[in-house]
């Protein structure tokens, strides 16, 4: 598994990039003890124009480098937590639907479809606007719009695993259904869930930045989307204010996508190999 993953160059690039972002996020308070909001110099200083401000200053003379570092914290936090919350909603729902079938499945899937019918970015906007922008409301709104695909994926996986013979064996062993679901079925759906989760973190980061861009960010937390939103009015005079956070988002999202793809390839070694084996089994 790890061998296949580590031999995937894209995935390793992703890991390195993501680690870099994580390190920056973790060390932000050490690197910039005064926080991202302090007005340190004249506004609109270009990158490298003044020592100690490698990325320049923003509209209020705040250190862009510090903002980027603190922004990484928010992006990663919102991305991770909202994905976790989405998993907490989607995995049980999908697992129950897929495992128990019949009316449980029917009900859960109607519920899921219902959420998929509402345009999800619009729903996120309404949710954040209504609960007022804060990290908590943004995280929850993102989770609420992103769980349906999780539920569908888990349901499909559970339905396929549930048909495998070892599940029958576990039933014959006298294990209770919940225990079979937890110990036999769910562990076998972990790989696709992990792959999906890594991609969801990426999507959540994009969503958070889009909300912040529209002015629906947490005003007390410096985030990349906020930086772009704040800087877009000065994009022509001070390109770096929207350029750097944009690049930061691209790098982070790209890294997560690369990792997700790498995991996917590692979990599902090349189809031809799998097919060859399947062929052999039948022969």
């Amino acid at each position: 598994m790890w061998k296949r993953f580590s031999s995937n160059m894209g995935a390793m690039v992703g890991v390195v990039l993501l680690l870099a972002v994580i390190v920056v996020a973790l060390t932000a308070p050490l690197l910039f003890p005064n926080g991202p909001w302090q007005m340190v110099q004249r506004p609109f200083l270009a990158p490298m124009a003044v020592d100690g401000l490698p990325l320049g200053t923003d509209t209020l003379g705040r250190n862009v480098a510090a903002q980027l570092a603190y922004g990484a914290r928010v992006s990663l936090l919102v991305g991770l937590v909202s994905t976790l919350v989405a998993l907490l909603i989607g995995v049980p729902l999908g697992a129950l639907a897929g495992f128990y079938g019949s009316w449980v499945d029917e009900g859960a899937m109607r519920f899921t479809e219902f959420f998929q019918t509402i345009p999800n970015f619009a729903l996120a906007i309404v949710l954040v606007a209504i609960f007022e922008p804060s990290l908590a409301s943004i995280t929850i709104a993102i989770a609420i719009v992103s769980w349906p695909p999780v539920a569908r994926l888990v349901r499909a996986e559970v339905m396929s695993v549930r048909k495998r013979e070892f599940v029958d064996a576990a039933r014959l062993a006298g294990l209770t259904r919940p225990r079979i679901l937890l110990t036999q079925v769910l562990p076998n759906t972990v790989s696709p869930i992990i792959v999906m989760a890594s991609l969801m973190v990426a999507t959540a980061i994009l969503l958070e930045s889009s909300l912040s861009f529209l002015g629906l960010g947490d005003p007390n937390a410096m985030s990349w989307g906020y930086m772009i939103g704040a800087a877009r009015t000065v994009i022509r005079t001070s390109w770096w204010l929207s350029f750097f956070p944009g690049i930061a988002i691209v790098i982070t999202v790209l890294a997560l996508n690369l990792i997700g793809e790498g995991l996917n390839d590692a979990f599902n070694p090349h189809l031809s190999r799998r097919r060859a084996r399947a062929g052999k089994e039948k022969a």
């Binding site: 007022e132 629906l216 960010g217 009015t233 000065v234 005079t237």
Partner: protein, 515 residues
Amino acid sequence: MTYLKATTFLIAAALAAPVAAQQAGGRLDIVVQPEPPGLMLGLVQNGPTQLVAGDIYESLLRYDTDLVPQPSLAESWTISDDGLVYTFTLREGVTWHDGTPFTAADVVFSADVFLRETHARLRSSLAYVDSITAPDDLTVVFTLKEPFGPFINAFETGTMPIVPKHIYDGTDYANNPANATPIGTGPFKFEAWEKGSYIHLVKNEDYYIDGLPYLDEVFYRVIPDAAARAVAFETGEVDVLPGGSVENWDVPRLTQMDNVCSTGNGWEFFAPHAWMWLNNREGPTADAKFRQAVMYAMDREFVKDVVWNGYGKVATGPISSKTNFYSDDVTIYDHNPDKAKELLAEMGYDGTPVRLLPLPYGETWQRWAEAVRQNLSEVGINVEIESTDVAGWNEKTSQWDYDMAFTYLYQYGDPALGVSRNYTADRIQKGSPWNNVEGYDNPALDAKWAAAATMVTPEERAAAYLDIQKEIIDDVPVAWLLELEFPTIYRCDIKDLVTTGIGVNDGPRNAWIEK
């Protein structure tokens, strides 16, 4: 400062033939932001509606940039010496856009019937009015119950738009189908409204002043994104950016372009005054020392220079320097963090966090709130910014659910119209974000405000307002910030665009394009 003179104006000469250089023809594209909810000025008086409908509707008077009244639908007027009787002589030969003649009956209907029902701000002035009569088709008489100095300022288009009686009399005003195609007496006629895109006005060929307007048509362009509005101006797609339609950061860049002029004029009548409501009822902000500390902690010059690009003026107190009866002979709060810390120590501030509600009107206000939070945190005040949209802001301020909240309000030329409403105890009423939202209760001052409003001579009133300003500024009921100045940006070949105290709102009437 200019004081009002209650005298008779004869204006025939004032409207002498246009200067030879003025050229007719052409089209003006003006940004309007946000899209107005409606154009029937009698029903809706928000900013965008005033901007567009100011060309369609008119009132009896106009006001120049020194707030001196000028004739409009009224040719001349007199005010009795006791300040109680205002007599207006209307212009002859004025017709509505649908061809119906305009008469004094329209004025009486508008002021006494229509606007009494629909226009909250005018209603408070009309409270002083005893009767409105039309002795003949060209004369209207307003009789007051008691003298009310600022009454002469009530005849501005947005304050008292004259609406057509023949269309609205006896109808359900709000649901009258004619609201979609407004009929006024103004220099431009409503032509089309492509929702989400533009409003198209065309020249009123039958306008009662020969030669006016010069322009053939005016497009009000709806462009929801501030950056896109700036681009639109750069690429020449729009010609005029009324105050506030681009972010302040773009102003210097745009004004440095070739053939681009800007002016801070045209806001004198409104004199937008920005401050933070400080909740006087509870929390740290209930303590005057805390409020004074806030004043000292803020670097308002920095905000003016950085956030507002140098436009505007640091406010000294409740009355704008553009409004009548302003005085700077008061305590001045400079940026003095040490003094602020001292005051906080004296008061015994324990670090209780205070919530700060920015005004949800775009990046400028957001940055301003961030700068204030940083200033306050530097003197040891814990600030949390609460984010909300326009609806949430209105709800929170009018329900007093805030600690500190940004706002700005218009002053309409006179403290009795636009200032006292925010400080007197009788205006402490939940449900409105324009009254005494901070909950400042000072009975002694209440009496002084009331007296100053009904004094007859300007001199008396000036003295009374000086007294009020000195006292209230020491109390800091709210944290005054800036006298805002919203520069109007336009192509230099557009002439005479801003000639009155309400700026572009009625600018196209006289504007012309140099070819």
